[in-house]
Symmetry: none
Subunit: 147 residues, 4 copies
């Protein structure tokens, strides 16, 4: 019962990478996870560092783990650093609390997965993720309005 299809994940990645080339980003890695935090699709551009696949997945995994977009996670990590140090271990290194991890919601607002991008500064990574998600007709939740 997989609500988030490979076809949608493909379209997200390709649109995100188009945006990256258009805006002159550094070489990016884009990961798309389903709601359970499992990889649906990933692409690493030529020249993107060898840890980028793990970082991109960790940005996406973190927002699913907590149910909050990457900006909300980054704000909380700044407020309670000891808890986020613990979360890093609790999650067995699966979460990176920083912009560039974006929840993917369907038309009902349900979380169906997440996108994580790594390679440039977090703000530019996030712009590409949002563009990819919206290009596939889905809603991007960056955690910007989350209290």
């Amino acid at each position: 019962m997989q609500a988030f299809t490979l076809d949608q994940a493909d379209r997200i990645i390709d649109a995100a990478l188009d945006k990256a080339r258009e805006t002159g980003c550094m070489p990016l890695t884009v990961a798309v996870l389903d709601a359970g935090g499992h990889l649906l699709a990933l692409k690493r551009e030529d020249g993107s560092g060898i840890l980028r696949p793990q970082i991109a997945q960790a940005k996406a995994w973190g927002v699913l783990g907590m149910g909050l977009g990457g900006r909300a996670l980054a704000a909380r990590a700044a407020a309670v650093p000891a808890f986020f140090t613990a979360l890093s271990s609790i999650s067995e290194g699966r979460m990176a609390p920083v912009a560039g991890g974006v929840l993917v919601r369907n038309s009902n607002g349900d979380v169906i997965g997440a996108v994580g991008i790594s390679g440039d500064v977090s703000d530019k990574d996030e712009v590409c993720a949002v563009h990819g998600i919206e290009s596939a007709g889905l809603k991007a939740d960056t955690g910007l309005e989350t209290p």
Copy 2:
């Protein structure tokens, strides 16, 4: 020799979740551990994030690990962060030093287990944990009075 029964754990979880619905909490996950730090029972409400079972268990495990309620752990983590970073590794990612982890004591004051709740802000998580423990006729130790 298991002093803390599944029946008691069940009652704690159900009362904690009743409180959560009554007070409009975000979707919660509630974990109950025995004195050895091993899971007796857990429930994750619909919509509670995928890392919440680990966080709830880590809140409960942490208070057992140190023999101090979650508020006392949070205060110490703020005072000596490097030590708690080390504890995170020492415990192999088993502890989250934050409110919402509550020791369960019997009528003699002996620790028989712990409850951990995750999903809303820590203060609201803790209120539900205390309510659950007291509903089962046991004593809740949040670490509030611990020096």
Copy 3:
């Protein structure tokens, strides 16, 4: 977007434990995971060993990881032991290829989660899991007919 509700998981566990008491099983631990392999609910009966929560979860996780019921996994593990030794590491200790791990399917045949039971011999564990799943109006896939 959680198709498998806590209410369903609760009913599965309670029916499975009723069956266990009726058939004189050793003390059991029952775990119910969603389709992403994340814990929805767990109960450990009084006297059930301290590793049982991990084993019950690993039985359920393994069937989700491979998309095959526990009996099919056990047959494959006997045929290609070196591959299953590798899978144990690949999954970071998350899978136990043995009867007692049962896929939960909805009326369309889609996998919506899994149940794992540990505590008695695997055949008796499995009977309780199947009974629990069917009591909740869902379909149990033990991997018996899988080629």
Copy 4:
């Protein structure tokens, strides 16, 4: 200096999945790694199990780790099982010694990466991997002729 481009990896995956649909395979996951064992691209078809991304990567990683195709690894694992149990730990769970892991060689015969496919029986997985690699104008080394 990345000899193996994302464009090549993309073509391999898309051709492998075309072959899978043409030959009625179970839902597959295809992973392409560079010569350093790092993920270049991955796609998981709808319905492919949640551990499949790890297994596909482990098939590819194993052939790079030993410099031998998956069939050669499987033969050795059957001959010296204790050594492969050790390799599983030595590699920290990164290798699956089974058909479906295929080395990718350029026109000079140099290894530039590897493909791993998981989801159907190993023989069918391998056919798709070989087809994908050859469709991208590269050489597939399954370990068949390796002594």
